[in-house]
């Protein structure tokens, strides 16, 4: 006869590799995390540009040519969209981590601050 203790046989389920595909909420989370991938490409471009800038004029011209290719523009546009999406999720989460003001106000403030930074950078770069 089995005693209550050794009659136990708990079943341990395991998470499958595709756990994040099984719920919309998890898919959106993975999309947020995946925004780093196109950003890596952008960072590569940035480093390549800096290297070319200090190397030689020829090198810089070939970098400029590289950047004008359709697929490079497409990937960089994707990186921009991805960062905007990441910013959207980040700005929404931030007021929950540091509740300093009403959430809507904080979200609006963060977008305004980003806009101000972009305008200042454009101004510094001489775009009028």
């Amino acid at each position: 006869m089995s005693t209550p203790d050794n009659a136990r046989k708990p079943y341990h389920s395991r998470m499958t590799r595709d756990w994040w595909l099984q719920q919309r909420y998890y898919r959106l989370y993975m999309l947020r995390e995946a925004t780093v991938l196109p950003l890596l490409f952008f960072l590569g471009c940035l480093l390549y540009g800096l290297y070319s800038l200090q190397h030689s004029e020829m090198q810089w011209l070939s970098f400029a040519q590289f950047m004008q290719q359709g697929w490079v523009i497409a990937l960089n546009a994707l990186a921009l969209l991805a960062s905007l999406y990441h910013a959207k999720t980040f700005f929404a989460l931030f007021p929950r981590v540091m509740p300093l003001a009403p959430p809507l106000l904080m979200v609006a403030g963060q977008w305004l601050a980003s806009l101000a930074v972009i305008i200042t950078l454009l101004w510094l770069a001489g775009v009028s």
């Binding site: 136990r8 708990p10 079943y11 341990h12 998470m15 994040w20 989370y29 929950r96």
Partner: protein
């Protein structure tokens, strides 16, 4: 009365090696909850079905199950909100003892690890005074009913059962923010590690499923801020 199709995950430790799915038909109306349906099944069709419940009013926290893959309180979830076959399974990320009953021991161990009580070295027997503003600081995080839905929703707990998890870290925050408590220093050692607040990647699903809207994800990430402060303060301590 409407007929509803349920597909319930069954597991009998004395007979099964892995869970199996069993289909049932129950009739209900717009007031029938998942728990009502399970209980009527148990009473009228299949007395072997094992499940936990008590209050039927979303306060005891014992009736958590996965409904179509999402952790829910059975008594607070209504059949009318579902179409087609409704899948019912025991809470994810816990070991299944029988049918819909899971072993909550890891969850309870995590809760007690963060010392969920007022720690105070003051020896006076006088009552502690607290202003409404001081109460408001932690009140939201004090409404936990220990149902464990957030653990079933948390992929980080699923991947690493040592992760303290949403409810425990929220409870730690609840006591750390309490003006009557002085135990923060001893709780921080739990919160600082990778199995503490930093094990969280802000998936946020814990807050989605929390039946009491505690926003555990916010609490966990506020704990990260506290942990970072704690780290910096300790740098300057000799």
């Amino acid at each position: 009365m409407t007929e509803y199709q349920l597909r319930i995950q069954r597991y009998d430790p004395e007979q099964d090696d892995t869970p199996r799915l069993q289909r049932y038909t129950v009739s209900g109306d717009h007031t029938t909850s998942v728990l009502d349906a399970l209980l009527s099944l148990q009473q009228q069709q299949d007395p072997t079905l094992a499940l936990r419940w008590s209050c039927r009013m979303a306060i005891c926290g014992s009736c958590g199950v996965m409904v179509n893959g999402i952790p829910k309180l059975g008594c607070k979830t209504f059949l009318r909100d579902y179409n087609g076959v409704i899948d019912i399974a025991p809470l994810a990320h816990f070991a299944v003892e029988k049918d819909l009953i899971v072993d909550m021991t890891p969850f309870l161990a995590h809760l007690s690890a963060i010392q969920p009580y007022l720690i105070n070295d003051k020896d006076d027997k006088a009552p502690h005074k607290q202003t409404p503003a001081q109460l408001a600081k932690y009140q939201q995080f004090s409404n936990c009913i220990n149902c464990g839905l957030c653990y079933a929703a948390c992929p980080q707990f699923g991947l690493n059962p040592e992760f303290l998890g949403p409810a425990a870290i929220t409870l730690a925050q609840r006591y750390n923010l309490d003006s009557r408590d002085n135990g923060k220093a001893s709780r921080m050692s739990q919160l600082n590690g990778n199995n503490g607040a930093w094990g969280c990647t802000f998936v946020g699903s814990c807050s989605e499923v929390c039946p009491k809207q505690l926003d555990p994800a916010a609490a966990v990430n506020q704990a990260k801020v506290e942990s970072a402060k704690d780290f910096i303060i300790n740098l300057f301590k000799i």
